[in-house]
């Protein structure tokens, strides 16, 4: 298996931080707020590997730190501690020691991100096609016809009617906006894709279609993905392996069927038992 990403001891603390932060927070304490200095330990000591074509699920309740990990990897936030290595066709990038330009370069050329809120991932002032064009233009494609053809190809791939390529995303339903966001993220065939609660808040039938699309993409392009969700159903369907987080810590990591059928940690057992 080809390794795409290697994350080690990733931590993120909001606030001044102190010597007690790590040892007085976590699931044993039922909190991620440091009692001594009030800092929030959003994530601590997260380590995992991600391979080509693999979908890793990160599951947990809100505030468990599941999105934090992805946000630091996509450079939306700076980690407090830890390392992440991105293996890109014979090149390695030590993500957290790159300069801002190198970070933007990876974001624009090698990573894709789909946010829960489409307004974070899409520019609502330009058309659906224009949104996709932006990513292609970043990658130095300067041929109008080719850009347009690729935009239409991606939209039909994500089942958005090509006739609506020139409409602004604001006219679209939530599910369609999410499809356009996925099309935009995929425009450059990124080897690594982050999906942050992409189906949360959508109708069930729309959710199902988006999840199917994600699986098809995984099979077709062998994209490595990290799926962040609080939904056990999403994890069950998409992820081969799963991390379960609580109070900023990974409490359990394993194959998804093992995590669901033989959960080891008390919190995971409770989570699985309370699933509908």
């Amino acid at each position: 298996m080809t390794k795409v990403l290697e994350v080690r001891n990733l931590s993120k603390v909001y606030g001044p931080g102190c010597m007690q932060c790590y040892e007085s927070t976590g699931p044993e304490f039922g909190t991620n707020i440091c009692p001594s200095c009030g800092s929030i330990v959003a994530a601590h000591d997260i380590s995992f590997d991600l391979c080509k074509g693999e979908i890793l699920g990160i599951m947990g309740e809100s505030g468990s730190g599941k999105s934090t990990a992805v946000k630091t990897l996509f450079f939306d936030q700076e980690p407090t501690h830890g390392s992440a290595r991105f293996y890109d066709s014979n090149k390695q990038h030590d993500l957290f020691s790159l300069n801002p330009a190198q970070k933007r370069n990876l974001r624009n050329h090698r990573f894709g991100m789909v946010y829960q809120n489409p307004s974070l991932g899409l520019n609502f002032n330009v058309s659906a096609g224009g949104n996709i064009a932006e990513r292609l233009l970043m990658n130095d494609l300067r041929h109008y016809r080719q850009i347009r053809d690729r935009a239409c190809e991606l939209l039909s791939r994500t089942e958005v009617a090509i006739a609506r390529v020139d409409e602004q995303p604001g006219n679209f339903s939530g599910g369609m906006q999410q499809r356009v966001q996925i099309a935009k993220a995929l425009a450059i065939n990124p080897p690594l894709l982050f999906l942050d609660e992409v189906t949360t808040g959508l109708d069930l039938s729309v959710q199902a279609a988006i999840l199917d699309l994600i699986l098809e993409i995984q099979q077709e392009f062998e994209t490595a993905m990290i799926v962040v969700t609080h939904d056990l159903g999403v994890i069950r369907l998409l992820a081969g392996r799963t991390l379960v987080m609580k109070n900023g810590r990974v409490v359990e990591a394993g194959l998804t069927d093992q995590v669901i059928e033989d959960p080891q940690h008390a919190y995971t057992q409770q989570l699985v038992a309370s699933a509908l």
Binding site: D49, C51, A208, L237, G240, R241, A253, E261, D262, Q270
Partner: protein, 240 residues
């Protein structure tokens, strides 16, 4: 002399229930071997932990103690109890198949796609995979009109045929079968038996649980009897 594919030594598995503060034993002191081209049948009363053994080999359960020594196609021996997740995923894709009692598959997929999926994951091109899938569905007598449909609305027997076809189609090195003919009519069961024999002849090592003694007699080369773990009804109180 046939090659040993899997050797289980002193395996046991118990479940720790945190909310009740209890440790529930499921299998204990299991020792067995599975040999290429042979079928090892697991027998024993309900609650003896037969399914637990299969699930632990497949890493759906995490073994508590013991060694699960698996010899790969490339003659490496690894302990399935300790192998990392990626290694297990690789084995699931390429070497170890598992047909559970109930079909579990991606929703909204046609039956033939479900059956073809493991072949495609192994790198077989899509059209040949679909062709092989159809052939296997035909062997197991699933009516052709159902091939394009999702098994969601199928009867128990129809679902199980899809399940078996998926397990058989990629001819794994080690095949785990959990009561594969339970919901099948006699005629279909016969077809399954034929398939199992074909696989055995082609060298697949099989570890199976059957409910019927006749089947064990007909298919089993080695029989391993499991006994329920010590006092399964007595829940061991754990310190909190």
């Amino acid at each position: 002399m046939k090659e040993t594919v899997l050797k289980i030594e002193n395996f046991s598995k118990s479940f720790e229930m945190h909310d009740q503060g209890k440790l529930i034993p499921s299998s204990s002191n299991v020792n067995l071997s599975v040999v290429a081209g042979k079928l090892t049948a697991l027998v024993g009363p309900t609650g003896a932990g037969k399914s637990t053994v299969l699930k632990s080999i497949y890493r759906t359960y995490l073994p508590s103690t013991g060694r699960l020594l698996y010899t790969t196609r490339t003659s490496n021996t690894i302990d399935l109890a300790l192998a990392d997740d990626h290694r297990i995923l690789g084995l699931r894709d390429n070497e170890i198949g598992f047909v559970t009692q109930f079909l579990r598959a991606l929703p909204r997929q046609s039956s033939e796609n479900i059956v073809a999926a493991p072949l495609i994951r192994k790198g077989v091109d899509k059209s040949s995979a679909i062709e092989a899938a159809r052939k296997m569905l035909q062997n197991l007598d699933l009516p052709e009109r159902l091939w394009q449909l999702s098994p969601a609305t199928f009867s128990g027997g129809e679902k199980q045929r899809v399940n078996l076809a998926r397990g058989f189609v990629c001819e794994p090195r080690l095949l785990l079968l959990d009561e594969p003919t339970a919901s099948l009519d006699e005629e279909t069961a016969e077809r399954v038996i034929t398939q199992i024999n074909t696989l055995k002849n082609r060298g697949t090592a099989i570890l199976a649980i059957f409910h019927s003694p006749q089947l064990i007699k007909r298919l089993g080369d080695i029989t391993v009897e499991l006994r329920p773990p010590v006092a399964p009804e007595t829940l061991v109180q754990r310190r909190h």
